[in-house]
């Protein structure tokens, strides 16, 4: 698993485009999300960063056919899938820390007031991430990267648009949405969905011809 994590982090950090994007995305989001509630920008940031860290390595496999090389290393198909699913949590922790520090700086410098750590939001965003990835990963493990990219676009754009719309609806519905999401039932359901997705991906990837 360490090997995969190293790979994912190296890929994100080494590419200038990625560095650029990951650095400027937070201010960009803060500009376009106009919400009275500080929680939403934070929510969207956590979601987007985790999601993008998760899928970036997949796009490299498309360009460079590196899946041939990775699959020739001593790692089974099942393990590759399992580790990828487990790594999502690590990406999330990285995102929380990174966003926390970044937003704290923004807060302290007085640029604008944002939440830089909110347990309620964290609990609310996890199920959304898990559900998105539950649909996303099987696509990458089964289909050609080009097709999987389309699935990714659909999921990402629709969830982004949905979140943005909700963010702009006003105070009361925001509160109720976050409350809904951090409600006790959603998290276990999303975890079950995640595990099912994991089993599906394993099955799909194991029998796939590269």
């Amino acid at each position: 698993m360490i090997g995969l994590l190293k790979r994912d982090l190296h890929l994100i950090i080494s590419d200038k485009k990625n560095r650029f994007f990951f650095l400027l995305y937070i201010p960009f989001l803060l500009l376009i999300v106009e919400s009275y509630d500080q929680k939403w920008p934070y929510f969207i940031i956590l979601y987007t960063y985790t999601y993008l860290i998760a899928i970036t390595p997949f796009s490299y496999d498309m360009t460079y056919k590196t899946s041939y090389m990775m699959s020739s290393l001593p790692i089974s198909r099942k393990e590759m899938v399992l580790y990828k699913y487990l790594l999502t949590f690590i990406y999330f922790v990285i995102t929380v820390v990174y966003a926390g520090v970044y937003l704290w700086i923004i807060n302290t410098l007085g640029i604008t007031t944002v939440d830089y750590f909110n347990l309620e939001v964290i609990k609310a965003v996890i199920p959304v991430i898990l559900i998105s990835i539950s649909f996303l990963y099987p696509a990458y493990f089964r289909f050609e990267p080009k097709i999987a990219q389309i699935v990714h676009m659909i999921i990402f754009i629709s969830s982004f648009v949905a979140m943005m719309n909700v963010a702009n609806l006003g105070e009361n519905s925001l509160v109720s949405h976050i409350k809904f999401l951090s409600d006790n039932y959603i998290l276990p359901i999303s975890i079950v969905l995640y595990i099912l997705s994991l089993l599906l991906s394993m099955k799909l990837y194991e029998t796939r011809d590269l």
Binding site: I2, G3, H10, L11, S14, Y68, M69, P74, I75, T207
Partner: protein, 284 residues
């Protein structure tokens, strides 16, 4: 372990191509050359061995173990070099090495650094700045730096200059000094194999033509040259492959004695090279 690599009745079907009944065996301590024209099925066979493709029939055993059930254990002991070296181009050699090294249980950094130095590669250079030859050298350095017992190479020398190809052969000879290690090497540059290979497996159109010791192959096949007037329909059938020109014919036979009896002094009989064998067998 009797065989380090054992392939039995492999079958793989695609829309326009199929591998049929592929079988061969390689013992520890030897080099097997895998030859065949482009599209014959060499890369497909190697991909099946490495489990990049799923087989439709047959079995593959590496180190005596089933290649699917013990995939991880097997790959830990295999060093691979492919014709296109698929690496993350934005990473440096060092970064790529660090990633790959964390997968192998017996990674040897000192050996890797020795090879990098010997190959004159800069660990800080990005992979996208490397030429094809340099990428291949990097691949080879990685393949030889985790105490692998089986080196599998898919057309590693195509596109490389002869000087460098000789260097690679030297390195392979060194590997083979250890009689527990083997090398499986697919190529269509047969001159490389003529020296170093112990066994030759020849594949054409998805089927194995032969799998024998190189010495036997070179002893059995001969090129026959003579005048066109000597040919008739029956005689044509005697040969494996035939080429007719304005000044005579050239053909391949695996039965030197019969040809001698048929023609005596009227033809020239010479040793066939692997290239001759491949050319005439494919051409017919």
């Amino acid at each position: 372990m009797d065989y380090i690599l054992e392939v039995n009745n492999l079958r793989k079907e695609f829309k326009k191509f199929a591998l049929k009944d592929i079988s061969f065996k390689l013992e520890p301590g030897y080099i097997m050359g895998f030859i065949g024209p482009n599209g014959a099925g060499k890369s497909t066979t190697i991909k099946l061995i490495m489990n990049l493709l799923k087989l439709d029939g047959g079995e593959i055993k590496v180190f005596g173990l089933d290649h699917k059930k013990h995939e991880k254990e097997i790959k830990d002991r295999i060093g691979f070099v492919y014709d296109e070296n698929y690496y993350y181009e934005d990473l440096t050699i060092k970064q790529m090495k660090n990633i790959v090294a964390s997968f192998y249980s017996k990674w040897d950094d000192a050996t890797f650094n020795d090879y990098i130095e010997q190959f004159d590669l800069d660990p800080k250079s990005k992979i996208k700045t490397l030429s094809k030859g340099m990428k291949m050298k990097f691949s080879l350095a990685v393949a030889l730096s985790h105490n692998a017992d089986l080196i599998i190479m898919d057309e590693p020398t195509s596109g490389l200059d002869p000087v460098f190809r000789r260097e690679i052969l030297d390195i392979l000879y060194n590997v083979i000094q250890d009689e527990t290690k083997s090398i499986f090497f697919s190529t269509h540059i047969t001159t490389d194999l003529e020296k170093i290979a112990d066994y030759i497996t020849f594949i054409n159109k998805g089927s194995i033509v032969f799998s024998e010791t190189k010495d036997e192959v070179l002893e059995n096949y001969s090129v026959v040259k003579g005048g066109i007037d000597l040919l008739d329909r029956d005689i044509r059938k005697e040969f494996i492959g035939l080429k007719e020109t304005n000044v005579g014919f050239e053909a391949l036979t695996n039965n030197k004695d019969k040809v001698k009896r048929l023609f005596g002094e009227e033809v020239l009989i010479e040793r066939a090279t692997l290239e001759d064998i491949m050319f005439y067998t494919v051409r017919g």
